[in-house]
Subunit: 309 residues, 2 copies
């Protein structure tokens, strides 16, 4: 892996990836705990449930990508953490709504009962709705860029990524696809919206917190995150086909049982694995002009493709 | 009604309220049709359902208040219509989610089958989610104020009004109150969030599209909209207790059947009517320093309190 070797070789003080990741994850946990409504504030059941849905959960892949892109653009960590919290709240809301009985009807998420099981369906619905509002509130009320016009562009980017032509639209396509096999291009098109759009927003918001990038470099970053976003989903499908429920912390093997089209069902598990490695190479190639500034993004691509959970 | 008499007496060209309201409503219908995703665009079932949920519906009370406040602040109509569409999309999303089986479980809205009846529950969930995203997208991608920082403040205001301490929080309080009688102060506190916050946002966003108001006048406007927002809900409760399903275009009398606390159950129908007239007088008094610039807001207060549907 060229980028990270370069990074480690030339800068003696660079901490290993695992340490960097752990520190971003710990920072995110503190930031989310601070930026979510305090548990005692009325309506406390809703606020408790919002915290339950968001805290102590997940690998924080989107925040890590946001921080990785922000470091590349020289952004301040106190700005990055707010942008990353906004993205993570959109992600958390989407999980709460996806788990509802009328969607995936799942009872387990990140090793814990899903929100509608722990609380109730109506509360889970409102948790998702209120987390979405809070994400936009954060982007608007904290200073994230020197130019407020850049910050408005961040609001727009997150809204587009979340909406009917992004994440919510991908969910709808996914619902309509249940029970029929999709082609690989159809799967790609679905996942570019369903998971790719928000992953892309994480990177673009992180970069927007820093110094403006030239259009060519911006396009490079876009290419990188397109590959990583797609690889993320293919790896998810491979893991779902392979792993046990205990390892994943969510119900495993349910894609094939529920008749959902996946990259594994479309191309077989061996080819799907190969595909992730191709996407990884392309992601690294896209980062080349950034040099060692892209160390964390390069490491994150490896982490996302080679993770076992 | 002092304001409107003054307005009509001194400006010969002022069109009657009904004509003004009709023209704003027609303008809003065109603006919503243009700003919603076109029906043919994929995912077309979601986009169709978003249009079904938003178009041809309701009195557009929030947009009317937005335009009324905008006229007071000298705002351009092409800015006001975008701000008003954002507020109306939040309102439309909240109705779609409120009607879901896990919430009010209602089958009729504005004389038509609710979205989860006409489409399905999963689509209705996503319609609400995507309408919320689109509202924030609109506020960020159109030029609504000369200063982008003012526009960020508009995003923040709409997010706070929609979130856990605004509309979604009010819904949660409402859910938890079902089956027990609330006191009048408890009811006021619930409705300040549930319906009042978004009505207030409509007025504040409309004013923000125009010339900045002095703090004292801003406080006056806030006082006006607090009275109107509360009166709106009290009138709703009175109408629900009185009216037939055919007149309302939604299932009537269901508040008392479902054991929901209302102003009618808390104070009786005669006192509730009196209360709306007191709030109306207070709303008019708050507008006094604006003179005839507040004509439409004064007329809207009358319309909201004296409406029969």
């Amino acid at each position: 892996m060229k980028m990270s070797e370069a990074g480690v070789a030339t800068v003696g003080t660079v901490i290993p990836f695992a340490g960097w990741m752990g520190s971003v994850q710990a920072r995110m946990e503190r930031a989310l705990a601070r930026l979510l409504p305090a548990p005692g504030i009325s309506p406390s059941r809703l606020h408790d449930a919002m915290r339950y849905a968001t805290l102590e959960g997940g690998k924080r892949v989107r925040p890590l990508l946001c921080f990785g892109a922000g470091e590349l653009a020289g952004a301040l960590p106190e700005r990055l953490e707010v942008a990353a919290c906004a993205v993570e709240m959109i992600h958390a809301y989407s999980l709460v709504h996806d788990d509802l009985p009328c969607m995936d009807d799942d009872v387990l998420r990140r090793g814990k009962p899903t929100v509608h099981i722990e609380y109730d369906e109506a509360t889970a619905l409102l948790v998702g709705d209120a987390l979405q509002s809070l994400a936009f509130q954060l982007l608007a009320e904290h200073r994230l860029a020197d130019d407020p016009a850049v910050q408005l562009e961040m609001v727009r980017a997150l809204a587009v990524a979340s909406g009917s032509r992004g994440m919510a639209g991908g969910q709808q396509v996914d619902l309509e696809a249940t029970g029929r096999q999709l082609t690989v291009p159809e799967l790609e098109s679905m996942h570019i919206r369903k998971t790719g759009a928000l992953i892309r927003a994480a990177v673009m918001l992180g970069a927007a917190c820093g110094a403006p990038l030239e259009p060519d470099l911006r396009a490079r970053l876009d290419r990188y995150v397109s590959c990583v976003g797609l690889a993320f989903q293919v790896v998810d499908d491979v893991l779902d086909a392979d792993a046990s429920t205990a390892t994943l912390g969510k119900t495993a093997g349910k894609d094939s049982r529920s008749g959902k089209a996946t990259f594994v069902s479309a191309m077989g598990v061996a080819r799907a694995r190969e595909f992730t490695e191709e996407l990884l190479r392309e992601a690294h190639a896209a980062l080349a002009p950034f040099g060692e500034r892209a160390l964390r993004l390069a490491e994150l691509a490896d982490f996302i493709v080679r993770r076992k959970f």
